[in-house]
Symmetry: C2
Subunit: 911 residues, 2 copies
C-alpha cells in the first residue's frame, strides 16, 4: 500500500497522527485512538493529497483505487467478512478535513450493503428489522449524497410508507400533518416489513431519478461514495464555511473508510456524542447525549431528541449511566484518557453495538467563549497547561461573546417557552423562517431571529445574518447548536413547545396556563421574539439587556494576557460614559476621543452653524466662544474617568458641510430659526458642497483656513486639564491633528496649540504637560513620517482612512462591489475589517520606522476598527507599534490578541 491510503485499527495506525494535514482531523483522531489501544473499528484514511489529485484529475485515480482495494482486503481479513459477500463487510465513508467542519461534508453509512447482503445480514444477526433499517438508511444516504437524488424524494417515500403503516395500525391519519404522523408512528415502531417496503420504495426513487437501478456492486458503491466525499469539498456550503472560518481552499479533505459498527442493533445498542467538559459553560463534567438503537446521524441531525449520558434529576433511568452502567464506566475512562492525552476538551463520537463500546471520533471540541476561557484556566489550575498555552487556547475574537449583553433581570418579560441553552447570549429580533429572508432583512439593517424546526447546512448564511437562532427540535449537539456556538450567536435549540408552520408564515407556541389548559400563542413572521441562549428561554416581544459581567476565570486569563503582551490597549471613547466603560474593560488610556459629536449635539449645533455662516474671523470667534463651555465640561468628565491614563483627543475632522442640512425644507426652517436669508444659507451650502468629501476640506485643512476652530478646541481641552489637575487628577492630554500630509501643516498647528497653551497656563498660573501628535491616515503622511516626526511627538495610524486612500475605496460606497471582491478572493479579506497587510500594512511599517528614525522614542499607536481585530492586532505587534485603540467592547479581544501575538514571537514580514 502506498502513502495515499493509510490503515488504522487493532492498536496501531500506518498514518502519523501528527499529520493532520494529510489525514484530516477525523483520520488523525482515529489513528491516535488506535495507537492508544482504544476500541476503534478498523479502517483506512485516504489522504488529503488524493483529494487534491481528485480535484485536478476530476476522477478517482486508478492507483488510488488499487490501494483502496488492498486496504479493503486487509479489513476483510482482519474482520473475517467479505465486501459484498455472504457475511458482508459494511463500511462508513466520511469526510475529514484538517480543520473541523461540522455538518459541512457528507457521510455515508452501511456502504457495501446489497439486496443479497440484507438477507445475509438478517441471517447472521437474526435481526431482519436491523438489516432492512440499515439498507434503507444506506439507500437514502448513498442516493442523496453520492447519486445526486434530492433528499426530499426519500422523505416523501418514507412518509407514504409510514402513512400506510399507521393506517394498518388503525390510527385515524386524516388529520395528521407530517410531523404529527411521525410522532404517532415513530421510526422505532416501524417493523422489518415496513422498512423493507421503504427500502424497495427508495430503490424505486433512485432508479427513477438516476435512470439506473441501484448498483448492487459494492465497489461501484464505494467509488461513488469516495468521489462524493472529495466532490463535497467544493460544495457551496463547504465553501461558505471555509470563507467564514478562513480555511484555505487548497487544504482538501481526507476520506475515512471504516468498518461499520451498529448502534441500531436493538436495546443494548446505541450511539452518542459527548464532550469531556460542558462546551457551553466549561464546567468540568462529562457532558453528552445518546440515543439507544440508533445510528450516529440520528443524533447529529436532531431528528430524535436524545437522552443524557450522565444521570440527572430528570433522566429517570434513560441515561447511559443508568441503563448501561458498565459501558458508561468504560466510556468515562476512555474520555478521561483522551482529554489527558490531548490536553484539551474532547468532542467524542461513539457507538455501542450490543453492549460493546466503539470510539468513532475524537477531536478538540468546539466551545463557547465562556467555556473556552473556563476550560483553559481550569486546565492551568489542574497543572495540565501552562499559562501561555492557556492564552493560546482561547480564540481572541470569540471573547466578543462574553461581552454580549444579557437580558435585564429586572425588565418585565413574558416567558413563553423553554428549550436547550445551546449558545449563550441574548437576542431580540423579527421572526423569520427562511435563511434567505434572514439575510435579506439583515442586510436591510433589521435585527432578525431565525426560527426553524431544525437547521441544516443550507441555512448557514441565514444563521450568520440572524441575531439569534431558535429551533423546535435537536439537542445541544444538533447542527443549530454547534454552528451557533461557533459563530458566537445566541441559540435556543429543541424548544418542543414550538411548532413552526413555514407555509403559513407563523409559529405557534403551546404555553401552559394557570387553568392547566394549554393556550396557543401565535407569532407571525416579522413579529418580535427574544431568546436567552444561556438560559434556553424564549420571551414574547423585545426585552432590554444589560452589559455582561466578567467571570473570575475571564479576569484571571486577562491578567495572564496583560503579563504576556507588549502592545498597550487603549479604547476609542468620546464621552465620560464611554471612558468609564472602556476603563472597566481594561483600557489603558483613550487612543481616540473624537470631538465632532461635541459639535453635533442639538444644543450646540446652532452655534456651530452660526460659526459656519460667519463671513469674518471675529464673527466666527464669537460663535466659537459660545461653543467652548460644553466641550470643556466633556473633557473634564473624560479626564476624571481616565485619571492617571493618557487621553488622545483628535481635533475637528469632518468637513463643515456635515453640520448643515441639505434638504430645502430643512434649510428653510434653519434660515427662519437663525434669522438668516434663505438665499445666503443656500449659497453657503452650495459653496461648501464637495464631490468627494473624503478627499476634501477636512481635518487640519479646516484649521489652515480657520485656525480659530482648533484654537477653541485646544482651549477647551487645556482649561479642562487645568481644572481636573487642581482636583488632584493626573491628566495626560495628547492633542492629535487629523489628516496631515506635510510637516508644515503640523508646524502651523503646533503654533496654535502652543500659543493657546501659554495663554491658558499663564492665566491660571499652572502648567499641564501635554503631547502634540498627528494621525497618519494618508499615504503621504506615512511616506513623509520622518519629517512629520520632527514636529509630532506621537503618531496614531488612522487605518480606516489610510485603507480608503491606499486602496482608493470609499467605505460608504464600497458596499456595491467589495463583497464580490472578498467572495471572489480578489482581496483576501474585507480590508476594513482586517488590515490589508500587503498594502496598507507596508505604509504602517514604513511610517513607524521612518518616524522613529527621526524620533527614536516616538509613541506610535493605531486607532480605528482594526485595533479590535485579532489578525490586525498581530500585525501591529509585529510592526512594533506601542498600542492599539479600539471600541470599548473589543478591548478584551485586543488584550488577548496582543498576548497571543507576543507569544508567537517575532514573525517574518509578509511583504
Amino acid at each position: 500500500m502506498g502513502a495515499q491510503v493509510l490503515a488504522f485499527g487493532d492498536g496501531s495506525s500506518e498514518g502519523d497522527p501528527k499529520r493532520r494535514d494529510l489525514l484530516g482531523g477525523k483520520g488523525a483522531g482515529l489513528a491516535e485512538m488506535a495507537r492508544l489501544g482504544l476500541p476503534v473499528p478498523p479502517g483506512f484514511t485516504i489522504t488529503t493529497e488524493v483529494c487534491t489529485r481528485f480535484q485536478g484529475e476530476g476522477a478517482l485515480p486508478e492507483d488510488v483505487k488499487a490501494d483502496v482495494r488492498a486496504a479493503v482486503a486487509k479489513l476483510e481479513q482482519s474482520l473475517g467478512r467479505t465486501f459484498g459477500g455472504e457475511n458482508p463487510l459494511l463500511v462508513s465513508v466520511r469526510s475529514g478535513a484538517r480543520a473541523s467542519m461540522p455538518g459541512m461534508m457528507d457521510t455515508i453509512l452501511n456502504l457495501g450493503l446489497t439486496r443479497a447482503g440484507v438477507t445475509a445480514l438478517a441471517g447472521t444477526t437474526g435481526n431482519a428489522r436491523f438489516a432492512w433499517d440499515s439498507y434503507r438508511r444506506f439507500l437514502a444516504m448513498q442516493g442523496s449524497v453520492a447519486l445526486g437524488v434530492d433528499k426530499h424524494h426519500f422523505d416523501d417515500a418514507l412518509e407514504g410508507v409510514r402513512l400506510k403503516a399507521a393506517r394498518t395500525k388503525g390510527l385515524d391519519v386524516t388529520r395528521f400533518n407530517s410531523e404529527e404522523l411521525r410522532r404517532a408512528m415513530p421510526d422505532s415502531e416501524l417493523t422489518a416489513e415496513v422498512l423493507e417496503e421503504a427500502a424497495v420504495a427508495f430503490e424505486g426513487v433512485i432508479a427513477k431519478h438516476t435512470g439506473h437501478p441501484f448498483p448492487q456492486d459494492p465497489w461501484e458503491q464505494l467509488w461513488a461514495a469516495i468521489s462524493a466525499v472529495f466532490r463535497s469539498w467544493n460544495n457551496p456550503r463547504a465553501i461558505t464555511y471555509r470563507r467564514m472560518h478562513e480555511i484555505p481552499d487548497s487544504w482538501g479533505t481526507a476520506c475515512n473508510v471504516q468498518a461499520m459498527v451498529f448502534g441500531n442493533l436493538g436495546a443494548t445498542s446505541g450511539t452518542g456524542v459527548a464532550f469531556t467538559r460542558n462546551p457551553s459553560t466549561g464546567e468540568n463534567a462529562l457532558y453528552g447525549e445518546w440515543l439507544p438503537n440508533a445510528q450516529g446521524e440520528d443524533v447529529v441531525a436532531g431528528i430524535r431528541t436524545p437522552l443524557p449520558i450522565s444521570k440527572t434529576e430528570k433522566s429517570k433511568g434513560t441515561s447511559l449511566e443508568e441503563s448501561s452502567p458498565a459501558v458508561f464506566a468504560e466510556f468515562v475512562s476512555v474520555a478521561r484518557r483522551l482529554e489527558g492525552h490531548f490536553r484539551d476538551l474532547q468532542d467524542i463520537e461513539f457507538t455501542i453495538q450490543e453492549g460493546r463500546l466503539f470510539m468513532l471520533q475524537c477531536r478538540s471540541g468546539k466551545r463557547t467563549a465562556k467555556a473556552a476561557v473556563r476550560i483553559a484556566v481550569e486546565l492551568v489550575r489542574e497543572g495540565i497547561l501552562t499559562k501561555h498555552e492557556a492564552l493560546q487556547r482561547v480564540e481572541a475574537k470569540s471573547l466578543d461573546q462574553l461581552l454580549h449583553p444579557t437580558l435585564d433581570p429586572d425588565a418585565p418579560k413574558e416567558l413563553v417557552a423553554r428549550g436547550l441553552p445551546a449558545s449563550p447570549g441574548a437576542a431580540s429580533g423579527q421572526v423569520v423562517f427562511d435563511a434567505d429572508e434572514a439575510e435579506r432583512k439583515a442586510m436591510a439593517g433589521l435585527p432578525v431571529l431565525l426560527v426553524r424546526t431544525e437547521t441544516s447546512p443550507e441555512d448557514i448564511h441565514g444563521m450568520k445574518a440572524a441575531r439569534g437562532i431558535l429551533t423546535a427540535r435537536g439537542g445541544m449537539t444538533s447542527h443549530a447548536a454547534v454552528v451557533a456556538r461557533g459563530m458566537g450567536k445566541p441559540c435556543v435549540a429543541g424548544t418542543s413547545a414550538i411548532h413552526v408552520d413555514e407555509r403559513a408564515g407563523q409559529l405557534t407556541i403551546s404555553v401552559a396556563s394557570e387553568s392547566g389548559q394549554n393556550k396557543i400563542v401565535t407569532v407571525k413572521r416579522g413579529e418580535v421574539l427574544t431568546i436567552d441562549g444561556g438560559a434556553g428561554a424564549v420571551y414574547l416581544g423585545g426585552v432590554p439587556t444589560v452589559p455582561a459581567v466578567a467571570s473570575e476565570e475571564f479576569l484571571e486569563l486577562m491578567v495572564w494576557a496583560d503579563e504576556a503582551r507588549k502592545l498597550k490597549v487603549r479604547a476609542n471613547a468620546d464621552t465620560p460614559v464611554d471612558a468609564r466603560v472602556a476603563r472597566s474593560f481594561g483600557a489603558e488610556g483613550i487612543g481616540l476621543c473624537r470631538t465632532e459629536h461635541m459639535f453635533f449635539d442639538d444644543e450646540r449645533i446652532a452655534a456651530v452653524r452660526e460659526m459656519i455662516l460667519a463671513e469674518e474671523k471675529p464673527a466666527r470667534e464669537r460663535a466659537l466662544a459660545k461653543l467652548l463651555p460644553q466641550p470643556r465640561g466633556d473633557f473634564i468628565g473624560i479626564f476624571r474617568e481616565m485619571n492617571g491614563l493618557p487621553v488622545t483627543i483628535r481635533l475637528l475632522d469632518p468637513p463643515l458641510h456635515e453640520f448643515l442640512p441639505d434638504k430645502d425644507s430643512q434649510l428653510e426652517a434653519l434660515a427662519a430659526t437663525m434669522k438668516v436669508p434663505l438665499a445666503r444659507l443656500k449659497s453657503r451650502v452650495r459653496e461648501l458642497h464637495e464631490f468627494n468629501p473624503m478627499l476634501g476640506h477636512r481635518g487640519c485643512r479646516l484649521a489652515i483656513t480657520y485656525p480659530e476652530i482648533y484654537a477653541m478646541q485646544v482651549r477647551a481641552i487645556l482649561e479642562a486639564a487645568v481644572h481636573v489637575q487642581r482636583e488632584g487628577v493626573s491628566v495626560q492630554p495628547e492633542i492629535m491633528i487629523p489628516l496631515a500630509i506635510a510637516k508644515a501643516e503640523l508646524d502651523r498647528m503646533k503654533v496654535i496649540v502652543d500659543e493657546v497653551a501659554k495663554s491658558v497656563f499663564d492665566a491660571e498660573s499652572v502648567v499641564v504637560p501635554y503631547l502634540f501628535g498627528t494621525m497618519i491616515e494618508l499615504p503621504r503622511a506615512a511616506l513623509r513620517a520622518h519629517e512629520l516626526a520632527e514636529t509630532a511627538e506621537f503618531f496614531s495610524f488612522g487605518t480606516n482612512d489610510l485603507t480608503q486612500a491606499t486602496l482608493g475605496l470609499s467605505r460608504d460606497d464600497a458596499g456595491r462591489f467589495l463583497p464580490a471582491y472578498v467572495e471572489q478572493g480578489i482581496l483576501e479579506k474585507d480590508p476594513f475589517v482586517s488590515i490589508d497587510v500587503d498594502g496598507v500594512g507596508e505604509l504602517v511599517r514604513e511610517g513607524q520606522a521612518r518616524g522613529r528614525k527621526t524620533r527614536p522614542l516616538l509613541k506610535v499607536g493605531v486607532c480605528g476598527e482594526h485595533g479590535g481585530d485579532p489578525s490586525s492586532v498581530r500585525f501591529f505587534h509585529q510592526a512594533g507599534l506601542d498600542y492599539v485603540s479600539c471600541s470599548p467592547f473589543r478591548v478584551a479581544i485586543a488584550r488577548l490578541a496582543a498576548a497571543q501575538a507576543a507569544l508567537e514571537g517575532p514573525v517574518a514580514s509578509t511583504a
Copy 2:
C-alpha cells in the same frame, strides 16, 4: 574691509563675478564689467549673506555699517567727492538678487543729496534745474521706498505744482484731467523753480507722514535705503514673483551702492536699455531704447515713451545712432563684447552723462520663447554654443508660447489701434481695468484682457490671471512688456490711441476714420477686445485663431532634443483628430486614449443608459452590442493616424452614474424618451449615487461586476486593429486596465481580453499582437507592483489619481484650500501641476522598481497632466521611466524637458 562688502570699479572688483549667490545678478554683472575694463561707475556690493543676517537680526548689523563706511570712504577718495559734503558724492542703492526679479525690488537714486548738497550741486554743475530735479526724485523715492510714505502723496503734490506751473504758463487747466495736464506740461518743461517748489512740497509730505523732517544726514539716508532694499526681499510682490518663478525664499538679495552718473544733465545726457538681439523675435540686431535728459527709472517705468537706439525709417534723427554717433559706436562695441563674453543675449542698462557712456547693468536678457529658440540655434550656428548648451538655454515650459494659436488671417476683424508688439501670441477677452477683478473673473472661468494705462508690480496677480495685457503707455522694456514676456502672455504695450478711464469703467479709442476726422470708440468693462501681441494690433470683439506654425529654428532645436533625450514622448489623444495633431507635434505614440467620451456622445448615450438600466446581463449585452460599431470606427481612425506607433487604450473608467442625469426634470424627460417608469429610473439613480465617486465603483471594479462592458470595448479595439492591419497599417494596440489594486483583478481582466481576442482573431483568421497592461493610480498598486507585473506587460502611472489618493486631495474640491497651501508654502507647488516628488514620487519610483524586479523589460510610462510639466518630466527621467504622455500641445515641452533632463545626467534622489 570684510567679505560682506565688496568694491568694484576702475578695472577691478573685489567680488568674484562667478559668485552670483553672494553678489546677486546685478552685483556680479557690475563686477564682471569692471574686470573687463568697461566704464562702470565705482561702487560696492553688500552681499546676500548680509540680507540673511538682516532678516534674522531685524536691523543692519553694526559691523556691516563699519564696512560700508570704509567702502564709502574709498569711493570718496577715488572720485574726489564727499558723502554729504560740499562736492557731494551721490549714490544709487539698488537690490540685486541671484535670479533676475525685474521691477520686484526697490531702487533709490541720488542718495546723499541734502538741501546743502542741492546748492552745491547746482554750483558745481551750473545746472540748478538738474540739482532740484535730482533732489525731488530722491525725495520721492526715499520717501516712498525707505520711509514708507504712500507714493500717491508725492504724485498729488507734483500735480499741484504742475497745475500751478501750467496756470502760470497761461494754460486753461480747468478741463484737464491728470493725464492731459501731464501732456500739456511735461516734466521736461518744469523749470528749476518749479522743481524746487516740488522738492519743498515733497519734504512737507515726508514730514507730515513720518512725523520727522526729512533727514539731512546722508548716513541716516543710506542706512534707511539699504534696510529698505533688504526688507523689500519679503514684500508681497517679491514673494509672489518668487513663487511664480520658483525662487527659494532663502536666497536673499544683495544691495548695490554705486556712485551716481546722471542722464538728466541736459541734451548730451541720457539713459537707455538695450538688448544685444531682439528679445521678441531673436533677430540678431542691437535692439534698445533711450531717453535723452532722463534718469533710468523714466525708461523702465514707462512714463515717457522712449526713442530707438538704432536708426530706423521712422526715427527721424531721434535715435542715439543719429544724435550721438560716437557714443553709439562705443556702445555697440561694448554690447558685442559683453555678448561674446557671456555667450548669450545681454540686457544692458546704460547712462550717458554729458557725452560720456557709463554701463550700469548687464545680465542675461529675458526673451520670448520664439527669441530664445532662435538665439540658441543661431549661437550654435555662429559656433558660440554647443547643441547641448543650446538645448539648456531654452526654458521648456516657454515653448507653450510657440504653440499658442495666432489670429486667423482670413477672419474678418476690425483693427482699432496699434501699439508695440511687446509679447507674442493672440488673446481675446473681456476688458477689465483692475488686477483684482481680472483674478476674480479668471477664477470664474472667464477669459479676461487686462487693460491698464501702465502696469506696476501691484498688478502681477492680474497679469497672471489675464489672457493678455494691453497698455496705453510704456515701451518694449516697460513693466508690462517685460513681465508679459516672462509669463508667455500676449501683450500690446504703449497703445497711445487708447485712453483708460478706470473710474468710468471704460476705455476710449481714438480711431482714424476715412473722413480724416478721428472717431471715438468706447469699450466698456466686460466687452471683448482681441490683441495680437506679435503684431502689436488691437481688434474690436473676438477674433478666431489658427494653430501656430513652427519655425525652422524650432524644428532644428527639436531634432537636437530628440537626439539628446532618453524618455519617449507620447500624447494623450481620444479621437483621430487629436491623434493627428499629436503626431504633428512629434508624439511617438498615444499614451492615453480615454474611451469614456465614446459613451458620452449624444447618439450613443441612449444605448449606454439602456445598458445601465438593464437588470440582467443579456439585456446589458444587447445594449452594448448597439454601442460596438461607433467606438470601433473611432479606433480605426486613431490606428490609421498612428500607423507604426503604439496606442494605449484605457478601458472604461468613470462610475456609471456619470452617464445618468440627476435633476428631476432631466430624469422625467429621460424616462419618457426611454419609455421606462420614472420611479425605476430614480431608484437606479439612487442606487448608483456615491458619496465619494473618486473612491467608488469605477475603473476595473465596473468590469468585475459587469465584465461584458470591457468585453465589448476590447472587441471594438481588436476588430478595429484587424481591420486596419488588413489595410497595411502597422498597429500596436496596448489595452490598459484602470484603477487596479490587486493582481487578481488583472488576472480576471486578462481572461476577458484574451477570450475576446481569441474569438475576434479566430473569426477573422488573423492575429494582431497586443499588449495587456495597467494603470498605476492608487498607492496599493504601486506597493504591489511586483505582483501586478506578473500579469501586466506595461504600467502607466496615472499620476493625477495617484496624487489624489496619496495626498487625500480631491482635484474637484481642493480649490478652496489648495491655493492657500501653495501660497503659505505648506506644499512647495500645486501637486496637480508639478509632481509631488517627495510623496507621489516615491510611489512612482518604487512602483517602477518593483514592477521591473518581476518583469525586467516592463514598459513603464506616465499619462496625465504631469507628463507635460518640465520639472515632473525631469523626475520621470530620473526615475527611469520609458515614456511620458501629455496633451498634444505640450509634446514639444516634454521633448525639450526630457532632453534637458538627460543632459543634466543622473541626479541624486530627493527622498
